[in-house]
Every structure is written in C-alpha cells, then in structure tokens.
Amino acid sequence: MSEITPELVRHLAGLSRIDLDEAEVARFTEQLALIVDSVAKISQAIDASTPATSHPIPLANVFRSDVVQPSLSQEQALSGAPDSGQGRFRVAAILDEE
C-alpha cells in the first residue's frame, strides 16, 4: 500500500498553491504512488555514515564587494506585472475577511 493517498495529494497541492481538480488528484495519486515506490529503493544504497552532497562543485565565501551597482528601475521591475499602481505590485487581499 502506497503512502500516497488522494488526501495527501490534495494537501501537497495546497502547500504548492495549485488548485488541482479532482481528475488531476486521482491521476497524480496513481502516478506519484508509482514514482515514490520506485524511488524509495535509494534508502538501500546508503547508511547513516554517508555524507550528503547538496552541490556538485562546492565554492565557499562567494561575495561581491559592497558597492552600489546599477539595478532595474522601478518601471522595469514592474513591467511584467499583471497589475501595478503607484509604483507597486497590486495584488488581491492578503487576509481573509473573517
């Protein structure tokens, strides 16, 4: 029995901010169960002493000098926004009315 259930897929979709429809929930439940069962075998390859690698070629202390550089103008930064006004991104209400 896979740990991927329709409830879990709905929960993950909520965390991912994707409003899946029920047909997608059903399809992804089935497909993700197959994928997760398949990839779960990686735990056989490792043990507690294996160090993790997060980056292929680690570089340390990558800094730039603390000097102001040209950057996007406000107009440029807003140029792709679906809605803007008064030099800002305009969005729907952030808090619910309740």
Binding site: R17, K41, P51, A52, V91
Partner: protein
C-alpha cells in the same frame, strides 16, 4: 536548399573572416529555411528576423571597415526559450509566462550580442525544461527532422531540431539531466553539457539550480567548441560560476586525438537492455576508438543504479522551490476566481491554469520529498546517493581519462509513446543523469544509424570536472574517423525533409 545553410559554423567562421560571404547572406539563408520548414518542424516559439539581420548588417560593415571581430561574429544562432531576452518574449515553454518580455538579458545572451552573433529566435522546449520529448511544451511539440512522426529529444528539442534541419548552424541549450545530450543523440547532432559553473546561469529560468548547466548545440564538435569558448567564463552575477578559465575548446577540438587515452567503459551503462541498433553502433565505435590508439578499461559504478531515483527526488525538490516565484504577482499570468478571492486563491487558480501536467506532477513530488516526515527518507537519502555517485566517478577517473557509454538507450521514439507514463519517460535519461549529479562535463557525438530504424545513435563521453577540453579532443577525433569511413557527414544521411 541554399548551400550556405549546409555549411558548418566553423566553415562560416572562415568564410566570413575572409569576407567571401556576408553575414547578411548567411542570416537571410537561415531565415528563408525557417520560413520553408518552420511550420513542419516547429523549432521556434519566436523568430527575430529583423534584429538578426540588423546584427548581420552591423557585422558586415564593421568587417568591411577592417575591424577585428570575435570568431563567431556574423554566425547566426538560436537560443532556447528559457534564457531571458529583452527584445523577445521568454516563455520557458509555459502558458504561465506567455508574452512575458524580461527586463534583462541572460549573461549568455549578452555574450552573444557582444560578439555580434545574429540571434534568429527562441527555441521550443518542454515546459520549464521538464521532459525528454518537447511533448510537454504548452505550445506544441517540435518534430524530429529525420522522421516528423518522432520526438526530437527534450527538453531542448527546439534547439536540436533547428540545428538538424539547417534552420540554424548553432544553438544554445540547457542540460539538467540530459536536455542537451539526449536531443543531440536522437537528431544526429553534437550536444555538450559543460562542467557545472563553466557557463553562467544568470538569466536561465532555473529548473534545478544544482543540476542546470547551459551548453552548445551544433552539427559538429569543432562548431560546439567555438560556441563554448564564446559563452564560458566567470560571471559575478552567478555565485556558482567558476572563477578560472578551462582553456580553449577550439584548440582541443583541432588537436583531436585518441592516442594513448584511457577510455573507461562504464559497466552499468555498457548497453544491457538498450536497443540492439544502439548497441551495435556503440560496439563499432569502441573498436574504432581502440584502433585510434586508445585503451578501453572497464570501470564499475555501482551507485549509478540509484541515479535516476536520486535525480527524480532532487530535481522536483529544487524545482518546487524555484517555481514558487510564479505567483501571479511580479510576472506572467494571473487568474482571479469569482467573488473577492484572497491572494492565496489567486495564486492557486493561476498555477492550476498556467502550469501543465508534468510541471504540476514534479512540483507536488518535490513538495512531498521536502515535507517533514519524508525528508530524511527521500530528499536526504537522495543527497547521500549523490555523494556515492561522485565517489564512483572519482574511482573511475583514477583509472581512465574519459568514460564512455551510449548517450541514450533508444533512438527517437514516436510521439505519444511515453507521454502518459512518467517512469518510462524518465528512463531516457539513464546515461546522462549521473554527470549532472556530479557536476562533470559530457558530450554526445553522433556515431551512425541504428540498423532497425535508420535513426541516429549517439555516444557519450564524460570527463572529470574542469576537463571539458578532453571531451572536445576525443569527440573530434572519433568524429573525424567516422566521417572518413562514411565519406560524408552525419547529416548527409538524413532523408530530405518533406514539407507542404
């Protein structure tokens, strides 16, 4: 068909420098070919004819005035549509970014502009580079010029099909798990994933930041070398950019030698389970490599068995985080549900409408891999497998200068064959993924046609990090031997493209 479009980029470099041809002629010839075959092959999402010709004209007048220009000045190029361009819409193959005009150029695009390469347009890809066939592009798939009923590879199928149908001599790709090399193998072209950090990722719409690498797509090894030399180098805008130079790839390709090289045959990728025609061409190539003075040694990489599994945890995890930026606020599409929705509901409705199936699948898989309760078992374990794969490579490169395998288990498959079976689609990348996990460079070079379907087969060479030049050296040598045997170039085997 104009002869100009059949010329390789390195031939164009020489003729342009001698002013025997003009960049305007060359650019116009490619734009004509795009008009002719573009609808049938569907390589481009956007064509920049006017600005390409303006660049070409500039090159011609500067050369006429005796100005010394970059080697590739005047050689037209196509750019994958996940690189930002201020003068052309950038969609990454997604509906969520339809029509978006970025406010800045990717560093690679800036380099192409500074070196005066006419940019012909933006090429198709699987949405956000997630896929192996371009079937996940929101704008419809690109076709394989060898057989229009088959996939051109992915995600960079727009670039591979453009170069293999003579719509462009060169193109830019990006490779996260094989998205340059797999399309190269199935279209009979050359594709290189440089060492991680060799080419700046600034302005590349990130898929998985620890795996992504931009690289060249071309019809031969020397052409690809010119392009890597043109786009490589440190960039302060990319904190993972390497600081030193990797040397001249053009010199390595011109040197072209296999003599005295130790070539490691990867036991786990030596062809078991691969299509017979792929195995046949690969076995012949190994013989040629030996005859050319190289020694084949077998190397054992036991952890490669887990590479795909680790990859399909690390990639979705990083992608789910990278794609959080598509939130309907700063760029792209916004879908507002009825009534007076909160921003969260607007985001969820926008992402539901704007993302395609593979992107949603991977975001949800990645969110799962990163969630508490599954983190150690999945994402954490995958990062440990990554260490094991790096150790396998270290051990292999202690015995060999380069490693070798077929680039892909099969030739180009038919549209629809794998699109509804994610696990089958993921297996295309079995030979290419380990290099991304370890950050090392890889090249795919065409080695002929499979017996059963007359479709291109590619061989992959891998080298240690920073040793990209070795790939160009051995790749050019094998290519030269094969062209000598064939008496022609790989693309001369391609059937004539039938368009209405």
């Amino acid at each position: 068909m104009s002869d100009l479009i059949r010329l390789n980029a390195s031939e164009l470099v020489a003729l342009l420098a001698k002013r025997e041809i003009s960049s305007v002629e060359v650019t116009q010839a490619h734009l004509d070919q795009i008009s002719k075959v573009g609808d049938a092959v569907h390589s481009f999402l956007h064509i920049s004819g006017e600005s390409a010709l303006a660049t070409a004209k500039d090159v011609d007048s500067r050369r006429a005035a005796g100005e010394k220009l970059a080697d590739l000045a005047g050689v037209p190029i196509a750019v994958k549509d996940n690189l930002t361009t201020t003068d052309a819409p950038t969609t990454a193959g997604s509906k969520i970014l339809e029509g978006w005009l970025p406010p800045y150029d990717a560093t690679v695009v800036t380099k192409l502009r500074n070196q005066l390469l006419p940019i012909l347009g933006k090429t198709n890809l699987d949405e956000f580079a997630m896929g192996s066939s371009t079937e996940f592009s929101a704008y419809g798939p690109s076709k394989n010029p060898w057989d229009l009923t088959r996939i051109p590879g992915g995600s960079g199928g727009g670039s591979s099909s453009a170069v293999s149908s003579f719509q462009a001599p060169l193109a830019i790709g990006s490779d996260t798990g094989g998205s340059i090399r797999f399309p190269g193998a199935v279209t009979g072209t050359v594709g290189i994933k440089p060492t991680y950090g060799a080419v700046s990722r600034y302005g590349l719409i990130a898929l998985a930041s620890s795996l992504d690498q931009i690289g060249p797509v071309a019809r031969n090894v020397l052409d690809a070398a010119y392009l890597q030399d043109a786009i490589a180098g440190h960039d302060p805008h990319d904190s993972t950019s390497l600081s030193g130079s990797l040397g001249s790839m053009v010199e390595a390709a011109k040197r072209g030698s296999l003599k005295g090289k130790k070539v490691g045959l990867i036991k786990q990728l030596s062809g078991d389970g691969f299509q017979q025609g792929v195995r046949n061409r690969f076995a012949e190539a190994l013989k040629l490599i030996t005859h050319a003075g190289a020694e084949i040694v077998e190397v054992d990489c036991p952890s490669f068995e887990y590479a795909i599994d680790a990859y399909y945890l690390i990639l979705p995890a990083e992608a789910s985080s990278n794609l959080a930026k598509f939130d309907s606020v700063r760029f792209g599409m916004r879908v507002s549900p009825e009534g007076n929705p909160t921003i969260e509901r607007v985001m969820a409705a926008t992402r539901e409408a704007g993302f395609g199936p593979e992107v949603k699948r991977r975001i949800i898989l990645g969110t799962f891999a990163l969630s508490s309760g599954s983190f150690d078992k999945f994402y954490g374990a995958a990062q440990k497998v990554r260490t094991l794969i790096q150790r396998d490579f270290d051990a292999a490169f202690a015995k060999a200068d380069v490693l070798v395998s077929p680039t892909a288990p099969t030739t180009a498959f038919k549209f629809g064959e794998k699109v509804s079976d994610p696990l089958a689609m993921y297996l295309n990348d079995i030979a290419t993924i380990p290099a991304n996990l370890a950050g090392i460079p890889g090249i795919s070079v065409p080695i002929g046609l499979a017996d059963e379907d007359n479709l291109p087969v590619g061989i992959q060479f891998l080298a240690p990090a920073h040793e990209d030049a070795r790939l160009y050296e051995v790749g050019a040598a094998l290519e030269g031997i094969l062209e000598g045997i064939w008496g022609k170039r790989m693309m001369d085997f391609a059937p004539e493209l039938k368009v209405n």
